[in-house]
C-alpha cells in the first residue's frame, strides 16, 4: 500500500475563483450566502444561496458546472506542476450530482411554457453528471482511469476516497479528484419543498438553527504516491492517510438516528490511517445546520472521540452546502487548516446548542497547530464518507 499525499489544490467558490480567495474567505469567517440571482425563487420560503460570483471563467457556451469543474481542476493540476506525460497516466475521479441541469432546466422551462422547443443539443449536451469528467479529462489531457461518482452530498469526498485507493493500490501514481456543482432549480426547489432550507443564512450547531443553505462551486486536489512526489520534487501539502465510506441503509432521506453509519465511517478512516482518536485535533463537519444532521453528527462524534475532545467547525456556514463540491471543497479547507494552522470558524454561530458537546469555533478562527484532521461528508439518505489528513 503506497502512502498518498496531496500535491495540488484548486477551488472556485462563493468567494470567487482560486484557492487563495477561498481560504481567505473561510479563514475570516465571512458568510457568502446572499439573495439568489441565477434562478427564479418566487413563492419559496428560502430565497438565498451562496453563488459563485460573476464572471465565472470559461466560455458561456459551456455549462456552468463544467466551467466550475474546469477552473478548479486546472488550478490543481497547475499547482501540482504536472507535465504532459504525468497527466497522460493520471486518473480522474469526479464527484457530481446536478451535472448540466441548470442549462437543461432553462431549456425545458422555456419549452414547456412557450410550447416551442428550441434545438436541445446545446442545452442537453452536458446534462448528465459524467460531463465534467469528459470535459476536464479531454481539456487537461488526462488519460488514466476516469470515473464519475454520484453519492449525493458526499460525492466530492467519495471522489477523493476512490482516487486515494487507486494511488495506494499502485494502479496510478497520480490522480486528480474532486467535485463540482452549479446551482440548479431542481435542487433548490426540492430542498425548499422538503422544508430543509433556512430562510436566513444557515447556522450550523446553533440552538436556533433551522436548516441548510445551498451553495455552488468546485474543489479539486491532486493525490500522488509519496515516493513519486518526492522523486519529482513536488510540494506536499499533507498526507491523505485514510478514509472510510459507509452506508446507513436505513432510509432514503433520513439518517440513522444513532449516527451509526457516520461513526463507522470515522472509525474506519481512523483504523485505516492507524491514528488514535486523540491524535485528531480538528473535525471539518458535514454540519448542514438541519436540526437532524447536526444533532446526529454530534452524537456520532461523541461516540468516536468523546465529549469535547476535538475542535469542530462547519464550512457550510460560509459557503452553504455546495452539493457534489462540498466534500472536496471542505477537504481543501481541512488541508489548509493543517498547513496554515488557523482552524476555520463556524459562522453565524451565536448560541451553541448545548446538545453538541464540542467547541464549534464560533465566528473567529482558532490559532492552534493540529497534527491530524478529518473532513466529514454525510450524504442525503446515509452515504457517509470521512477523509483523514495528516500533517506531512
Amino acid at each position: 500500500m503506497k502512502r498518498v499525499v496531496v500535491t495540488g489544490l484548486g477551488a472556485i467558490s462563493p468567494f470567487g475563483p482560486g484557492v487563495k480567495a477561498y481560504w481567505e474567505g473561510v479563514r475570516s469567517g465571512t458568510c457568502a450566502i446572499r439573495p439568489v440571482t441565477l434562478i427564479e425563487t418566487d413563492g419559496f420560503r428560502c430565497r438565498i444561496a451562496a453563488e459563485v460570483p460573476d464572471p465565472v471563467p470559461g466560455s458561456p457556451r459551456r455549462a456552468r458546472a463544467d466551467r466550475l469543474a474546469l477552473a478548479a481542476a486546472r488550478e490543481a493540476i497547475d499547482d501540482a506542476g504536472l507535465g504532459a506525460a504525468e497527466r497522460k497516466r493520471a486518473a480522474l475521479i469526479v464527484g457530481a450530482v446536478g451535472g448540466g441541469m441548470l442549462e437543461a432546466e432553462a431549456w425545458y422551462w422555456h419549452a414547456r411554457r412557450s410550447g416551442v422547443a428550441p434545438r436541445a443539443v446545446h442545452a442537453l449536451r452536458s446534462i448528465l453528471p459524467y460531463s465534467h469528467a469528459d470535459v476536464v479529462g479531454s481539456r487537461l489531457g488526462l488519460g488514466g482511469p476516469r470515473e464519475t461518482l454520484v453519492t449525493a452530498c458526499s460525492s466530492g469526498a467519495a471522489s477523493l476516497a476512490v482516487a486515494a485507493d487507486l494511488v495506494a493500490d499502485g494502479v496510478v501514481p497520480v490522480a486528480l479528484a474532486g467535485g463540482a456543482d452549479a446551482l440548479t432549480r431542481i435542487c433548490f426547489m426540492g430542498f425548499n419543498a422538503l422544508r430543509l432550507l433556512d430562510p436566513d443564512p444557515c447556522r450550523p450547531f446553533d440552538l436556533a438553527r433551522r436548516g441548510m443553505s445551498i451553495g455552488e462551486g468546485a474543489g479539486f486536489v491532486v493525490l500522488e504516491d509519496a515516493a513519486h512526489a518526492r522523486a519529482r520534487g513536488a510540494r506536499v501539502y499533507a498526507e491523505l492517510a485514510g478514509s472510510g465510506t459507509t452506508t446507513d441503509a436505513f432510509h432514503v432521506t433520513s439518517p440513522h438516528p444513532d449516527g451509526e453509519g457516520m461513526a463507522r465511517a470515522m472509525a474506519t478512516a481512523l483504523a485505516r490511517a492507524r491514528v488514535a482518536p486523540k491524535s485528531v485535533g480538528y473535525v471539518n463537519a458535514h454540519g448542514t445546520a438541519t436540526l437532524q444532521n447536526d444533532r446526529i453528527e454530534a452524537r456520532a462524534l461523541r461516540a468516536v472521540f468523546g465529549d469535547g475532545a476535538v475542535l469542530v467547525s462547519s464550512t457550510k456556514s460560509m459557503i452553504g452546502h455546495t452539493m457534489a463540491a462540498a466534500g472536496s471543497l471542505e477537504a481543501v479547507a481541512t488541508i489548509l487548516a493543517l498547513v496554515h494552522e488557523p482552524v476555520p470558524p463556524t459562522a453565524n454561530l451565536t448560541t451553541p446548542d448545548p446538545d453538541v458537546a464540542f467547541d464549534c469555533v464560533p465566528a473567529i478562527a482558532r490559532e492552534t497547530a493540529v497534527e491530524c484532521a478529518i473532513s466529514n461528508s454525510f450524504g442525503f439518505g446515509g452515504q457517509n464518507v470521512t477523509l483523514l489528513f495528516r500533517r506531512s
Binding site: 454520484v150 422538503l194 432514503v252 439518505g381
Partner: protein, 338 residues
C-alpha cells in the same frame, strides 16, 4: 498475495431474462433479441408490500436485481458488503416528473416523494436498504461502460481487502424524453434497452468457505481514457488498457478465447472499438457482441456480458476478454475466467 476475485451470484431484470444464475444461463444458451421496455408485471410480483408505491421504476429494477443476486449467492449482507452500481441515465424520468409538478402548479406542485429520485444514486440507495448492504455504496455514471467500470471498481475493493463482498452491476431505464434527447445528440443508430444486472463478487477463499457456487473469475482488469471530445469518437487506436488488463491477469493475447465488445449499433463508436481491439490483439479472435445487440444498450448489459464471458471461458477452456469504449474516451477491459 492479492486475493482472487470470483463471481458467486447474479441477478438480472431485463426484457430478455429475469432471475438468477439458472435463468441467465438458460438465456445465454439460447439468446433471443429482447430490446425495448420491460413488462411491469414481471416486476410487480417480486416487490415487497409498499415498494411498488415508493420506488420509481428504475429503482424497482435495481432493487429486484440486487435481491436476486444476493439470494443467488446465498449471501447475508452487512457492514462489509459494498455496492457499486453503474448507470448512464439514472432516474431521468423522475427528474422530468418533478419539474413537471412545478411547471404545472408552482411550489405547491413539488413532490417530496419524487425529489430524492432526482439524484442519480437513488437506485443504489434503495438497493442498499433492500438488501442491508452497509459498506461503501457508489454510483458510477458513464456513457456505455458504466456497468463494466462498476465491476472494475468492485474487483479493486475486494483485491485491496476493503470489502468481503461487493454487489456490482448496472441499471438503466428507457425514457421517451431521453430517447428524443439522444436522437438530437446523434448517437448514430444505437438501440436502447433497459433493466438491471447485478453480480456478487467475493474473494475466492470466502466463496469456498461459504460453499458458494462460482460463476466465474475476474482475472484482471484495467481502465483509462482515450483522447476524444465529449460525446465524440477518438481518432487514435493506440491504447494500453487491453495490454494492462492482460498483464494484470497474467495472460497473453494469444491465450484468449472469446472477446466481448460493447458494440451496440452506434456505427462510429463501434468502428472505433474494432480498431482498438485490432490494434491491441490482432484479428484472430472470435468476436461476439456483449449482448447489446440482443438486449439493447444499458448499464446492465456490461455486467451481463461479464457473466456471458465467464460461461464462454468455461466452454472454451480459455479466458475471455470483455471490452468497452465510450464516446468521450472512457475505455475498460476485463479478463474473465471460468
Amino acid at each position: 498475495m492479492t486475493p482472487r476475485v470470483v463471481i458467486t451470484g447474479v441477478g438480472a431484470v431485463t426484457a430478455g431474462v429475469t432471475g438468477g444464475a439458472a435463468a441467465v444461463h438458460a438465456f445465454l444458451s439460447e439468446p433471443r433479441p429482447a430490446l425495448g421496455c420491460m413488462a411491469d408485471s414481471a416486476l410487480a410480483a417480486r416487490l415487497l408490500d409498499g415498494e411498488a408505491r415508493r420506488l420509481s421504476r428504475v429503482c424497482q429494477f435495481a432493487v429486484t436485481a440486487g435481491r436476486l443476486a444476493v439470494d443467488d449467492a446465498g449471501l447475508t449482507a452487512g457492514d462489509d458488503v459494498d455496492l457499486v452500481l453503474g448507470t448512464e441515465f439514472g432516474d431521468l424520468r423522475s427528474t422530468v416528473e418533478f419539474a413537471d409538478g412545478y411547471l404545472a402548479s408552482g411550489p405547491p406542485g413539488l413532490s417530496a416523494l419524487i425529489f430524492p429520485n432526482t439524484v442519480m444514486n437513488t437506485m443504489a440507495a434503495a438497493t442498499t436498504i433492500a438488501v442491508g448492504a452497509k459498506g461503501s455504496s457508489l454510483t458510477l455514471n458513464a456513457p456505455t461502460v458504466a456497468g463494466e467500470l462498476a465491476i472494475v471498481r468492485a474487483t479493486a475493493a475486494i483485491a485491496g481487502g476493503r470489502a468481503s463482498a461487493v454487489l456490482a452491476g448496472g441499471v438503466d431505464q428507457i425514457d421517451p424524453f431521453l430517447v428524443s434527447m439522444l436522437e438530437e445528440l446523434g448517437t448514430g443508430g444505437e438501440r436502447q434497452g433497459e433493466g438491471a444486472v447485478v453480480l456478487v463478487l467475493e474473494t475466492e477463499a470466502a466463496a469456498r468457505e461459504r460453499g458458494a457456487h462460482r460463476l466465474g473469475e475476474i482475472m484482471g482488469s484495467a481502465s483509462g481514457a482515450l483522447a476524444a471530445r465529449p460525446h465524440g469518437v477518438g481518432r487514435s487506436v493506440r491504447s494500453s488498457v487491453v495490454a494492462d488488463a492482460l498483464a494484470a491477469a497474467g495472460v497473453g493475447a494469444r491465450d484468449l478465447g472469446v472477446v466481448y465488445v460493447s458494440a451496440s449499433g452506434d456505427r462510429a463508436r463501434d468502428a472505433w472499438e474494432t480498431g482498438l481491439l485490432t490494434a491491441a490483439l490482432g484479428v484472430d479472435h472470435e468476436r461476439r457482441s456483449a449482448l447489446r445487440h440482443l438486449i439493447g444498450a444499458h448499464a446492465g448489459a456490461g455486467a451481463l456480458g461479464v457473466v456471458a464471458a465467464a460461461e464462454a471461458a468455461r466452454a472454451s477452456g480459455r479466458p475471455s476478454l470483455v471490452h468497452g469504449v465510450a464516446r468521450g474516451g472512457s475505455q475498460v477491459a476485463l479478463v474473465v475466467g471460468p
